[in-house]
């Protein structure tokens, strides 16, 4: 479904990703962990095509198509979703209008008819319920005056509405208390249907207690330095990321 090969990418003059490889099959959940500055968020931005994130070399294919050749919105239309770490406000544009435009843009790209207002509303109400957001959130401006936790839940609401093929969650756990974390995780888990894939980017193991990953990868200095199953996350939890420096030192010796 998603195949990342030897990806090098930079922001301005600084190369952040330095030869990243990752294979994701349909239905798999991959957790990307790593210390601050490892390139976790950069990966999400590079995959979604954000301006200013320049690919130097390597390739990314999604369903056999060259992802890097597509515009930001084309990637979204192809089924790639990014849940933002810091969702931005769009004053005066209601969540409802925003989601309606968005849902219908994706439908149009797939050659499907736009949803009627009634169909849309039904779907939106269900999505709100899943992440325990009151319905009046649909009428409020996108992220306007939302608390940190509300913003994160709103991102998951959008994920539910947009039904992507692959969703990248960029630190969807940061700043959440345990209750909110569970709501977010529940929302995400409801979307695991054996076909949809996930990249769960997180600094802490905590989120992975609630969203069970199939694979855990440790990202350090722009590369995946270790991959394993869920037990790898526990290891990180127990010993932190300090061992990375040691491993690196050893690597340098050898």
């Amino acid at each position: 479904m998603l195949s990342i090969k030897d990806l090098h990418a930079r922001v301005e003059e600084t190369t952040i990703l330095k030869g990243l490889n990752l294979e994701i099959k349909p239905g798999e959940v991959h957790a990307i962990m790593g210390p601050n500055g490892a390139g976790k968020s950069t990966l999400g931005y590079v995959l979604s095509g954000r301006d200013g994130y320049e690919v130097e070399s390597g390739s990314v294919e999604m369903d056999g198509k060259d992802l890097l050749d597509m515009e930001v919105e084309e990637r979204a239309q192809a089924g790639l979703f990014l849940a933002f770490q810091y969702p931005v406000e769009i004053p005066g544009v209601s969540n409802m209008e925003f989601m309606k435009e968005s849902v219908n843009a994706l439908r149009e790209a797939r050659g499907e008819k736009a949803l009627s207002s009634a169909e849309f509303l039904k779907k939106a109400k269900e999505a709100c319920k899943q992440v325990e957001l009151p319905l009046d959130f649909l009428k409020r401006g996108v992220n306007e005056g939302f608390s940190g936790g509300e913003k994160k839940r709103n991102e998951i609401m959008q994920l539910i509405m947009l039904e992507p093929k692959i969703a990248i969650l960029d630190e969807s756990d940061s700043g959440l208390d345990v209750d909110a974390l569970q709501v977010v995780a529940k929302g995400v888990n409801s979307q695991r249907d054996g076909k949809r894939s996930f990249i769960v980017v997180t600094h802490y193991q905590r989120l992975l207690d609630y969203i069970q990953p199939d694979y855990v990868h440790i990202l350090s200095k722009g590369k995946i330095v270790k991959s394993g199953g869920p037990e790898l996350a526990k290891e990180v939890e127990a010993s932190g990321y300090a061992w990375l420096a040691e491993a690196e030192a050893e690597g340098a010796d050898a």
Binding site: E71, E73, A76, F84, E89, I90, G92, S102, A105, L106
Partner: protein, 478 residues
Amino acid sequence: MSEQIDQALARKYDAGFVSEIESETFPIGLDEDVIARLSAIKGEPEWMLEWRLKAYRTWLKMEEPDWAHVDYPKVDYQSISYYSAPKSMKDKPKSLDEVDPELLRTYEKLGIPLHEQEMLAGVAVDAVFDSVSVVTTFREKLEEAGVIFCPISEALHKYPDLVKKYLGTVVPRGDNFFAALNSAVFTDGSFVYIPKGVRCPMELSTYFRINEQNTGQFERTLIVAEEGSHVSYLEGCTAPQRDENQLHAAVVELVALDDAEIKYSTVQNWYPGDENGKGGIYNFVTKRGLCEKNAKISWTQVETGSAVTWKYPSCILKGDNSVGEFYSVALTRGRQQADTGTKMIHLGKNTKSTIISKGISAGRSNNAYRGLVRMGPGAEGARNFTECDSLLIGDQCGAHTFPYIESSNPTAIVEHEATTSKVSDDQLFLCRQRGLDPEKAVSMIVNGFCKEVFRELPMEFAVEAGKLLEISLEGSVG
């Protein structure tokens, strides 16, 4: 992102076509003879000619204002023709069937069908083409309600006393340079009279079209709402795409007597010039309304066109408890320049005014809000609230705010809020990541920014204004 914005600002102006219509156009130039000829063609009463000549003589002594935050080559007032009318209008057509089909096609192309059965139900239209009114629809229906809605040239014949009583009472002949010029040479425009206690049964609207080359359009609109009456009026404007600048110097006067209410909405889409600033309309307009006791005047404007805009729809809140409102969206792009805002002059007790101004600048344009709130000595307990927001698209445009507040009454309260923001890369990226193309994204963000103003427009026009904004923004991001 800024380079994408740059290359994109070359957008099409849909109303930029020229109609092939035989016209009778005065040679260029302005003197007392021209004014006399103009007045004669219109068959005006003697006092009107005198009025015009007085205005002209005042104008000759005046200086063109240069305090606005705009920069344009001086207008040569002797190189403009002051009258142009389709020849077919000479023998006044009695009904639509007699109107030159090419004229009707022009309006159809602009989306304003003049056949009543095809029109938006409930909107009466006066169509002004260059210097004359082509047709006014739904007149009979309005007459039943006692409402007068006709070209001002016609009102001078049919209702001379009414016109004489109110013309120049709100915007005097010598009010300012452009108003004086307009008073001397105004050609047509609409006259509206709503009798006492009548609620106008439909929206009234005037559609202005400049077609002929080297002509100026100087329309004059006068709306009188008698005690306790109510009217909602909308004007729209377009012009062909030409390399030369053309002058539009209009005057609009509103009179709201005790307990009356006038809602005046403008969707202005004059040709803005090309991306290098060549051509476009100079829109130098004086609009002012007078409120008597408990009266209310509400100006709503959506300004997307014109090369240079100089316009301050204002309210004189003379009567106690009267209310003035100004809701404005001004969008500039390319090399457009706008200096627009309002004046709220509080004279009466407990008068209230609200100003909501939304300026959007893109490309290399400059957009200035200039507003005056004056609390006179008698404005006991008066209140004003001003909110003035600017939105920047790209990094080569400018937004400016010039608020003037003068208070001579200690009990009056004036509030002013202002913000400046940018359509941020973050917002654009969020929208695009959710599958929207950049143009849709920008137009959605801008529409959200303007929401408070669009809410004030009559329903049909709110949709139109949203669309116009979308078209105007077309290509403002790549």
